[in-house]
C-alpha cells in the first residue's frame, strides 16, 4: 500500500472534521450508505491491488490477500468495523473457563462450499493444520495453543500454554479462516483451489488478472448477502484502478493513496468512502546500534518530526498523526500517551546535544524505492535537517531492504516503513517489541516491565482490564521511544454510484458484507 499525495485545498468542513478523532468517522460519505431496500443480484467488480500470494489463508503472507479471502472464508470470530472489538462469527459464543482454557461454541447448520459440515472436528482440523502444516505461515499466531479438543459436536476446547486473551482477535484473522478438511485431504495444496464457508465460493483465479467468486447458495447468512458474485480484477497500479472505476469498468477501488482524493473529487459520478485504519507509517529503530541505542536520540527524533505537516503533505489530510501504534478510534487507544511527544524542535536539539550528537551527524537510514516512499523520505530529510541531523536513505526493494534491516545484515540504523496492523493489539506489540521477534531489528532486550505488561494484556479477557494493560504497554513503549510512529493512513475507496452498503473498516482490509448494487 502506498500513498502519495497531491495537495488539494480542504474544504472547511473537511478540515474541521479531521481535527477531531470522532470527526474521522464522519468522513464516511453517507451517500455511499444510501438508504433503500437492498436489491438482490449483480456481480460486484472490484479493482484489486495485488495478486494474492496464495488463496490458502494458512500459507499466504501478504496483508493484501485478506480482502479476497474474506468473501470465501468466514472466520470463527469477527469484529466491529469501527473499533475492531471482537464479536461472534462462525463461533457463536466463547468463554475462558479459566485463563488457560478457551471454550468455543460453533454455530450449527453451517456447511463448507463442498458440502462438508462445519463442526468441531473441522475446526480442530484447521487449528491443528495451522500449527503443524509445513507451509503454514501462521504457526506463531497459535503458539499459545497447546492442544485442541473436541468436547461436543459443535464445541472445541483449546488448552493454552499460557493465558492468551488475544486469541479471539487472532481467530478473526487468517488463523480463524475455516477451510474444508475434505478439500485439504483431497489435494494437500489448496493454494489455488480454496474451499471455505464464506458467502461466496471460488470459481477461478487467473494469475495477475482476475479472481472470480460466485455466491454460495447455502451460506448461513444468505439473507444478508445480496450479490450474485464478485470479480476481482488485479490492477496493482492504483491510479489505473481508479480510472477503471471512473470509466465504469469496475465498481470499487480500495486502499487508494491520498493523492487520488483530488482525482475522485473532480470525477463526476464517483463516491468516496474513507475512514481510519490501523495502518501506521513509522520509523523503525534498531535500538541496538548507535545512535539509536541512546534513548535521548530516539526521543529527540520523536520530538523533531512534525507529524501534522507529514500528514498534510503525504496524506492530503486523509490520515491522522500517530503517537503510538494504535489510532484514536481503536478500543485500546490511550489518550495520555499521545501527549508525550509534541512537536518541539528546541527540545529535540537539547536532547541531541545532551547525547553528544554533533551538528550534521549522518543518520544511515533505509527505505523503499517507490515514489511514495521517496516522497516521505524527502519530507523527513528536511525535518531532520532542522535539528542538525543529516538523514541519508539507502533504498531498495521491499524484499531486499526488509531482509537487510531485520535480518542478519542489520543494515542501517532506522527503516522508514509501515506496520499494517493486526486484529488484536497484543499481536502488534508482541511482534514489534519482543526480544526475539523478527521486527525487533536489534534483537535487543526490551525495557523492563514491557514483557510483563504484554503478558498482562493477554491474561484476562475482561475488556477493561485489557485496556488498562494496553495503556501500560503503550506508555512503556513510547516513553522509551522504541519507534517513531508518524501517521495513520486512512482508508480511501472509490465507489461507483451503483454500489450501496459499503463500509470501510478499521483494519483497512475491505469486506463486502451487506453490499448491494443499484441497477
Amino acid at each position: 500500500m502506498g500513498h502519495d499525495e497531491k495537495f488539494a485545498r480542504l474544504s472547511r468542513r473537511e478540515a474541521m472534521a479531521l481535527a477531531s478523532a470522532a470527526g474521522a468517522a464522519a468522513l464516511i460519505n453517507t451517500s455511499a450508505l444510501a438508504q433503500g431496500a437492498p436489491k438482490k443480484g449483480g456481480v460486484l467488480k472490484v479493482s484489486a491491488n495485488a495478486n494474492p500470494s496464495s488463496l490458502d489463508p494458512q500459507t499466504g503472507g501478504a496483508g493484501s490477500d485478506h480482502t479476497m479471502l474474506f468473501p470465501m472464508y468466514d472466520t470463527l470470530v469477527e469484529w466491529d468495523y469501527e473499533t475492531l472489538k471482537p464479536k461472534p462469527g462462525l463461533a457463536e459464543s466463547w468463554s475462558f473457563s479459566d485463563p488457560q482454557t478457551l471454550v468455543m461454541n460453533i454455530r450449527s447448520g453451517v456447511t463448507f462450499h463442498d458440502g462438508t459440515p462445519l463442526d468441531a472436528e473441522a475446526v480442530k482440523f484447521n487449528l491443528e493444520r495451522a500449527k503443524t502444516e509445513q507451509r503454514s505461515n501462521i504457526k506463531a499466531d497459535l503458539a499459545t495453543v497447546a492442544s485442541v479438543a473436541v468436547t461436543g459436536p459443535q464445541q472445541v476446547t483449546l488448552k493454552l500454554s499460557q493465558p492468551d486473551a488475544a486469541l479471539p482477535g487472532i481467530l478473526s484473522d487468517r488463523a480463524g479462516m475455516m477451510i474444508s478438511p475434505t478439500a485439504v485431504k483431497a489435494s494437500g495444496n489448496i493454494d489455488r483451489k480454496p474451499v471455505g464457508a464464506g458467502a461466496y465460493q471460488f470459481v477461478s483465479w487467473t494469475d495477475n488478472e482476475k479472481i472470480v467468486v460466485k455466491r454460495y447458495d447455502k451460506y448461513w447468512r444468505a439473507n444478508e448477502r445480496h450479490l450474485d458474485g464478485i470479480e476481482f480484477a488485479i490492477i496493482p497500479e492504483l491510479a489505473t484502478g481508479v480510472r477503471s472505476v471512473i470509466a465504469g469498468q469496475n465498481h470499487v477501488a480500495y486502499s487508494l493513496p491520498a493523492r487520488q482524493k483530488a482525482v475522485l473529487k473532480r470525477a463526476s459520478n464517483i463516491n468516496q468512502a474513507s475512514g481510519p485504519t490501523v495502518y501506521c507509517q513509522q520509523i523503525y529503530f534498531n535500538w541496538g546500534k548507535p545512535p539509536f541505542n541512546d534513548i535521548r536520540v530516539r526521543k529527540a527524533i520523536n520530538h523533531a518530526v512534525d507529524r501534522a505537516t507529514f500528514v498534510k503533505a503525504t496524506l492530503d489530510g486523509v490520515g491522522e498523526p500517530a503517537y503510538m501504534n494504535l489510532p484514536s478510534s481503536h478500543w485500546a487507544y490511550d489518550a495520555d500517551v499521545a501527549k508525550l511527544y509534541p512537536h518541539d524542535l528546541d527540545k529535540a536539539r537539547a536532547l541531541l546535544k545532551e547525547a553528544n550528537i554533533p551538528q550534521g551527524f549522518e543518520l544511515d537510514l533505509v527505505g523503499y524505492t517507490d515514489q511514495d516512499s521517496i516522497r516521505r523520505e524527502e519530507i523527513l530529510i528536511e525535518q531532520f535537517a532542522k535539528v542538525g541531523l543529516k538523514a541519508k536513505f539507502t533504498n531498495g526493494s521491499i524484499a531486499e531492504i526488509s531482509a537487510a534491516f531485520f535480518g542478519k545484515d542489520k543494515k542501517g540504523v532506522g527503516l522508514l516503513s509501515a506496520w499494517t496492523g493486526r486484529p488484536d493489539p497484543s499481536l502488534t506489540y508482541t511482534l514489534l517489541y519482543s526480544k526475539n521477534s523478527y521486527f525487533n531489528a536489534a534483537r535487543a532486550d526490551v525495557p523492563a516491565g514491557l514483557a510483563e505488561a504484554l503478558a498482562a494484556t493477554r491474561a484476562s479477557e475482561n475488556i477493561d482490564a485489557r485496556k488498562k494493560a494496553f495503556a501500560t504497554v503503550q506508555r512503556i513503549v513510547m516513553e522509551n521511544a522504541l519507534a517513531c510512529p508518524l501517521a495513520f493512513q486512512f482508508e480511501l475507496d472509490a465507489l461507483s454510484p451503483k454500489v450501496k452498503g459499503f463500509k470501510p473498516n478499521l483494519l483497512g482490509k475491505p469486506k463486502y458484507e451487506g453490499v448491494w448494487l443499484e441497477s
Binding site: K6, A262, K312, T369, R375, G396
Partner: protein
C-alpha cells in the same frame, strides 16, 4: 583550431549542438548561483503550483521550485551520461581490441560473451547490477556502462580485424615491437573512429537510460534531483498536474538531440568516404 572552426561553419547543426552542450555544462557548473531556490526547499503550502513570477516553472508535489530542480539536475545528468559511457569505453574497447587482434579461441569466447550480453534485456542487467552494488546514480550508471560495453567491443573488434592486417602493423611486428605497444600505438588510433562516433550516440542513450532507471526508482536517490526522477514524480501527479512532465522531458529531449547531432556530424566529418 582553424579546421575546427571551418568545420563548425560548414555544419550548422554541429555548431548548435556544441553551443547547447557548452551552455549545459555552464549551467551545471554554475547551478548553485543560477538557481533561484534550493532544489530541496519544500513548501507544503504551495504544492503543484502553476508557473508564476515567483516560480517560473511552478512547483512540484512537495512545493519545490521546478526551475531550480531542473538546473540542479543538469550536473547529475551530465555526470551520469559520462560515467556510463566511460565505463563502457574502459570495458568494451580493450576487450574488442583483444578479440580482434588475437583471434582464435580468445575471439570465440569474447564474441560469444558479447552475443550473450547483447541478447539480454538491458533493464534486467541494470537491475541486477544495481542490486549487487546498491541502488544509486553511480551504481546505476555503471550498470548501464556494462550494458553498453558489448556494443563498443563489437565495433572495436570489427575495426581491429581490418587494421591488424595493415602494413604498418606488420612492419612494427617485424621490428620487434611488443604486443601492448602495437595495440596502443598502431591499432587503437586507427580502430577508434567508429568508436568515437558511437560514443556520442551512446551519451544520448545513457541519458535516456538514466531517465528510465530513475523512473523505475533505481537511479538517483532522494533528495537529489535528476531529470529522470522528476519525470517519475510527474507521472504520479499526471492526473492532476500533467504539465509537470514537460520541463524535465524537454530537457532530456534537447540534450539527447544535441548528443545525437554531434555524433552524426562527427561520423560524416571523420569518414571521408561517406557520401552526403
Amino acid at each position: 583550431m582553424n579546421g575546427f572552426f571551418a568545420f563548425l561553419r560548414r555544419d550548422v547543426r554541429a555548431a548548435l549542438a556544441i553551443a547547447y552542450l557548452a551552455l549545459l555544462v555552464l549551467v551545471a557548473v554554475a547551478a548553485p548561483w543560477l538557481s533561484p531556490y534550493s532544489p530541496t526547499a519544500q513548501n507544503v503550502n504551495d504544492m503543484l503550483a502553476q508557473p508564476s513570477a515567483a516560480h517560473w516553472l511552478g512547483t512540484d508535489d512537495l512545493g519545490r521550485d521546478i526551475l531550480s530542480r531542473l538546473i540542479h539536475g543538469a550536473p547529475a545528468t551530465i555526470y551520469a551520461s559520462f560515467l556510463a559511457v566511460g565505463v563502457a569505453i574502459l570495458l568494451g574497447v580493450p576487450v574488442g581490441l583483444a578479440a580482434g587482434y588475437f583471434g582464435g579461441w580468445i575471439d570465440d569466447v569474447i564474441s560469444r560473451t558479447i552475443d550473450t550480453l547483447l541478447s539480454f534485456p538491458a533493464i534486467v542487467l541494470a537491475i541486477a547490477v544495481t542490486g549487487a552494488l546498491g541502488i544509486g546514480l553511480t551504481n546505476g550508471m555503471i550498470a548501464v556502462g556494462i550494458v553498453f560495453a558489448p556494443q563498443l567491443a563489437r565495433l572495436a573488434r570489427a575495426r581491429t580485424l581490418v587494421v591488424r592486417h595493415e602494413l604498418y602493423v606488420d612492419a612494427a611486428r617485424c621490428f620487434g615491437a611488443s604486443t601492448p605497444h602495437i595495440l596502443w600505438r598502431h591499432v587503437l588510433p586507427n580502430a577508434i573512429q567508429p568508436v568515437i562516433v558511437q560514443v556520442t550516440l551512446l551519451l544520448a542513450a545513457a541519458l535516456l537510460a538514466e531517465a528510465s532507471l530513475s523512473f523505475l526508482g533505481l537511479g538517483v536517490q532522494p533528495p537529489h534531483p535528476s531529470w529522470g526522477a522528476m519525470l517519475a514524480r510527474a507521472y504520479q501527479a499526471m492526473d492532476i498536474a500533467p504539465e509537470q512532465m514537460y520541463p524535465p522531458g524537454l530537457a532530456i529531449l534537447f540534450t539527447a538531440l544535441a548528443f545525437n547531432a554531434l555524433g552524426e556530424s562527427l561520423r560524416i566529418a571523420l569518414d571521408p568516404t561517406l557520401k552526403r
